[in-house]
Amino acid sequence: MSDELYDELILDHYESPYHRGQLEAASCSHTERNPLCGDRVELQLQVDSERRIQQAYFDGEGCAISQAAASILCEHIEGKTMEEIEEFAASEMLDLLQVRLTATRQRCGLLGFKALKTLVYSEDDSTGTSP
């Protein structure tokens, strides 16, 4: 884990984000904001009938951390099932970033993750499959 906040992984994703834009085929999407710093991440998922994420896209604006983290997240979750996502913990998300974030910056790093979790729970709500 690097102490260097803006390391290569973050910078690469910030510069050339993975799946940034609008996903036409999205089956669900959710936007999270951090009103304090103005970061915004909209996460869009295409989930198939087996509850597997076929495609993940994000859109938004904000600091390098929030945007790069959203990009890294999209790359990470494609192909996973919603069951797997339910198990996916904030600490794992932070590990994926490969940098050590202060409490304040963790909010940036977890913005996309928060959107993802909201989608998981709202999906459960609507289908009523949650235990």
């Binding site: 803006y6 910078l11 304090l36 710093c37 103005g38 600091c63 910056r105």
Partner: protein, 406 residues
């Protein structure tokens, strides 16, 4: 200038990573000179006691120290009497006190409170709250494109329904210095009172509450080189005497019955409970310090820094400085770098030892108006110098380079 800088112990020390500290966040909270830090230790080590009526040896000394501080503060702002100076926990508390103790019982439907979009949340949300509680209306003086009050439209905002104009002496984001003389004159003409949020203006320029005459002035000790945890509300005696207390408890009471009580005289009526004793005393020391440097000198140094910073930053491409030109503002430069997000900017400047603040600076309305959610703010105090600006400018370039946006 070196002598001022050397009065502040924190500025003499390198940061944990060895870089020298370039502190450009004084608008958020100022650093403390040695004399203020020592005043606190001296109090706790040699004569600390609860204030009020201690008849033991330093019980008297502490009362004299607190009241001495009150007198010096009163003198600094031109208050007619020391009891017009109420010690609070800060600007926020001072303004809430007026909103509730003055506004809640005096405002009613049809009445108007006039604010504007550059106000800090501390001088906005209490008025939102009390107008909602009382059915009064909150109105806004429009701003000009460069972030000043649009005085041409002042008349249409004021009427006999206006009960109070709450306005900041200086914007904590744009640096805009508001024309309190024009505002008091216009308010007086329609019978409205004027509250000035002096959190930013009091530390930067001499203020005299009798000229132009304001009704309330709120400010914080921690921005005036004093300790955290203490602030001031100045109120004209006439109004303070008519108002009911805000907080209730010890010291603000004259007589207590089973279900009712009568209030003590000023300033005790508004100082319920144990005062921030040591902090009030050390704020008095901070006032002495500021008077020693002199507001003329403070203004001279700050305006020179401001002019230089504004010039240097305006030469950077794709960087937008918000607010009016330097003649209309104090030593604050807030900017948007189109290439680097404010949070990244602050984070990357930090590596160069530069302390700036990124965010909405408790002025969300203003940021909506500016069309950005966050800005980066550099603010200056007399302990800063040109070399700080050099480091800031280099830091901005460094941030762009690091994010591969140069």
């Amino acid at each position: 200038m070196e002598s001022i800088r050397s009065d502040f112990p924190i500025l003499g020390q390198p940061l944990a990573d060895g870089t020298p500290l370039v502190y450009l966040d004084s608008a958020s909270s100022a650093q403390k000179p040695r004399v203020v830090i020592d005043a606190l230790s001296e109090c706790y080590e040699t004569y600390y006691a609860n204030a009020h009526r201690g008849v033991y040896q330093f019980g008297v000394k502490i009362d004299e120290a607190v009241e001495g501080a009150r007198e010096r503060i009163a003198r600094m702002i031109g208050a007619e009497r020391p009891e017009e100076v109420i010690f609070t926990s800060g600007t926020t508390m001072s303004i809430n006190l007026v909103a509730q103790a003055w506004g809640r019982s005096r405002l009613s439907e049809g009445d108007e409170v006039l604010v504007n979009e550059m106000e800090h949340h501390a001088n906005l949300v209490p008025w939102q709250q009390v107008t909602r509680q009382t059915g009064a209306t909150l109105r806004h003086i429009p701003l000009t494109g460069d972030g000043r009050l649009d005085l041409e439209r002042l008349d249409e905002c004021l009427s006999s329904r206006t009960r109070l104009v709450a306005v900041t002496g200086m914007s904590n984001v744009l640096g805009t210095i508001n024309p309190i003389d024009r505002l008091t004159e216009a308010a007086r003409a329609v019978g409205a009172l004027v509250l000035v949020d002096g959190a930013q203006s009091v530390p930067h320029a001499a203020v005299d509450v009798s000229n132009p005459q304001v009704d309330f002035l709120a400010f914080s000790g921690h921005k005036l080189y004093g300790p955290s945890g203490v602030g001031v509300l100045y109120g004209r005696r006439e109004w303070l005497e008519q108002m009911d207390p805000f907080l209730c408890g010890g010291n603000m009471i004259s007589e207590v019955g089973m279900t009712e009580s009568t209030w003590a005289e000023l300033p005790a009526k508004f100082e319920a409970g144990t005062l921030p004793v040591a902090q009030a005393i050390a704020l008095g020391t901070a006032v002495d310090y500021v008077n020693g440097v002199g507001f003329d000198e403070i203004g001279r140094i700050e305006q020179a820094l401001l002019a230089e910073a504004q010039q240097r930053l305006s030469e950077i491409p794709d960087l937008l400085i918000h607010g009016p030109s330097v003649e209309h503002k104090g030593a604050i430069v807030s900017f948007s770098d189109e290439r680097v997000h404010p949070h990244d900017m602050a984070e990357l400047l930090k590596r160069k030892g530069v302390a700036v603040r990124a965010g909405h600076h408790c002025t969300m309305l203003l940021h909506s108006l500016l069309g950005v959610v966050a800005t980066t703010r550099a603010s200056f105090a007399p302990y800063n110098d040109s070399s700080d600006i050099d480091v800031l400018v280099d830091g901005i370039q460094y941030a762009r380079k690091t994010l591969r946006r140069d």
